[in-house]
């Protein structure tokens, strides 16, 4: 009988200090990927399409069992085939624009602090800093429909914030992660927009600087990611 109590007591004590698999020194690679493609075939107009991808790759290392840090690289690319109808002296002219019309690249550094609930799951949270460059080109017909206008936008964004997530261990090597909260409490972005109309020399250059400080957070649309230990 005494033995049983002893075992129960041992269980209670040990359950409060679950022996976790050693994470210290372990390296991991994590990523999310999205690819999209759409195609429209209309009877009256020529076919148009849209395509693009977005890859986020992170490389991190556990400094201790509850602390990790690492780098994040993200790239995105977008392209399309579009048709624009303009009228010159009442005659319709179709212009086809085909090719890559946008790309983005970003680099960031993150620090994560973990709380392991049990052997399978836990939460993490920590600060991150990010720098991102985006470039895009869009077209639209002018308001009178006589010409095609072009907008080129370059944007540089610097931000610092906090992010938090959940993890679930599928196996020793594979984890599934989900974002639960995001915050960009400091951000600065600078963008340069240049618009021009094809048949004229008129251009408009617009320079915008935005900055903000906002100690707030939001719950994002939950995004899942996978993590592989190396």
């Amino acid at each position: 009988m005494k033995n049983t109590y002893f075992i129960i007591a041992l269980l209670i004590l040990s359950s409060s200090q679950i022996v976790l698999a050693q994470l210290e020194g372990q390296k991991f690679i994590s990523g999310t990927a999205s690819v999209n493609f759409s195609n429209t075939n209309s009877d009256l107009q020529e076919s148009s399409n849209n395509y693009g991808y977005n890859f986020d790759i992170g490389l991190g290392k556990f400094k201790t069992d509850t602390r990790a840090s690492g780098w994040k690289i993200s790239t995105s690319l977008a392209g399309s085939k579009q048709n624009f109808l303009t009228y010159v002296n009442g005659n319709p002219i179709n212009t086809e624009k085909n090719g890559i019309n946008g790309f983005g690249i970003g680099v960031g550094h993150f620090w994560q602090f973990y709380k392991h609930f049990n052997e399978k799951a836990g939460i993490y949270a920590g600060p991150e800093i990010n720098a991102r460059y985006n470039n895009s080109k869009t077209y639209q017909t002018t308001s009178d429909g006589s010409a095609l206008g072009e907008n080129k936008i370059n944007t540089l964004t610097l931000s610092a914030g906090l992010s938090a997530g959940l993890y679930y261990k599928l196996s020793q090597k594979w984890w599934v992660t989900a974002n639960i909260a995001l915050s960009d409490f400091v951000s600065v972005d600078y963008s340069h927009l240049k618009s021009s109309v094809e048949s004229s020399n008129n251009t408009t250059a617009q320079k915008t600087l935005n900055y903000q400080f906002s100690p707030s957070f939001r719950f994002p649309v939950v995004g899942f990611g996978v993590r592989r230990f190396l």
């Binding site: 617009q206 600087l209 935005n210 900055y211 903000q212 906002s214 100690p215 957070f217």
Partner: protein, 220 residues
Amino acid sequence: MKKTLLFGIVSLLWLSLPVKAQLEKGTKYVAATINFRGTHQAIDYTPSVSANNSKYDAFNLNPSFQYGKFVKENRMIGIGFGTSMAFSKNQSSYAGQDFVYKGNNIAYNLSPYIRHYKSLSPKWAIFLNSSLSLSYIHLRYSSNDEVTKTDGYAAGVYLTPGISYWITPRFALETDLNFLSLSAGYNHMPTSKNVFFNSIVTTNLTSYFAVRASWYLQKN
């Protein structure tokens, strides 16, 4: 052996139960938060025939402070003071004539409140804030030195839950959960009057939660 174990388990339970000295009668409470954002934009037209270069600047600043005192355990009475400021300036020229448009809008907000806390653990607590909000709104527009001033006021009652997280025994971070709030009030401006009643219960969690820095100052 049994007794020892029982005693041990009970004492363990006691340890894990929250002991919240911060929420006792007499504790003073000070909290503050601030957010700001700005935009500066310049538009250049080439060649500059009829329309010339134009500029747009905007700046928003929203500081707020709270002061309170616990009148009994888990119950605080306090007052909040905040301002919302929005400044904008638009400069442009057309056909050789310059246009300058300025807007300076300020709202002063005073809100006495009663707050009930329920502690969940030594580090976490939830609270329910019932407040009366009184605002004075001052709008000033100028278009090429022609000034228009408008004054108005608003009053409302708000019931908002929130969460506190203690980083140290004296310092905590707090946020109001606006997606569960109830409010009713009245807005009065010279050209418009409106009565509003809002009950926000939503599962849309993507909204923003402003975080407040708060200090719980005990007497001893």
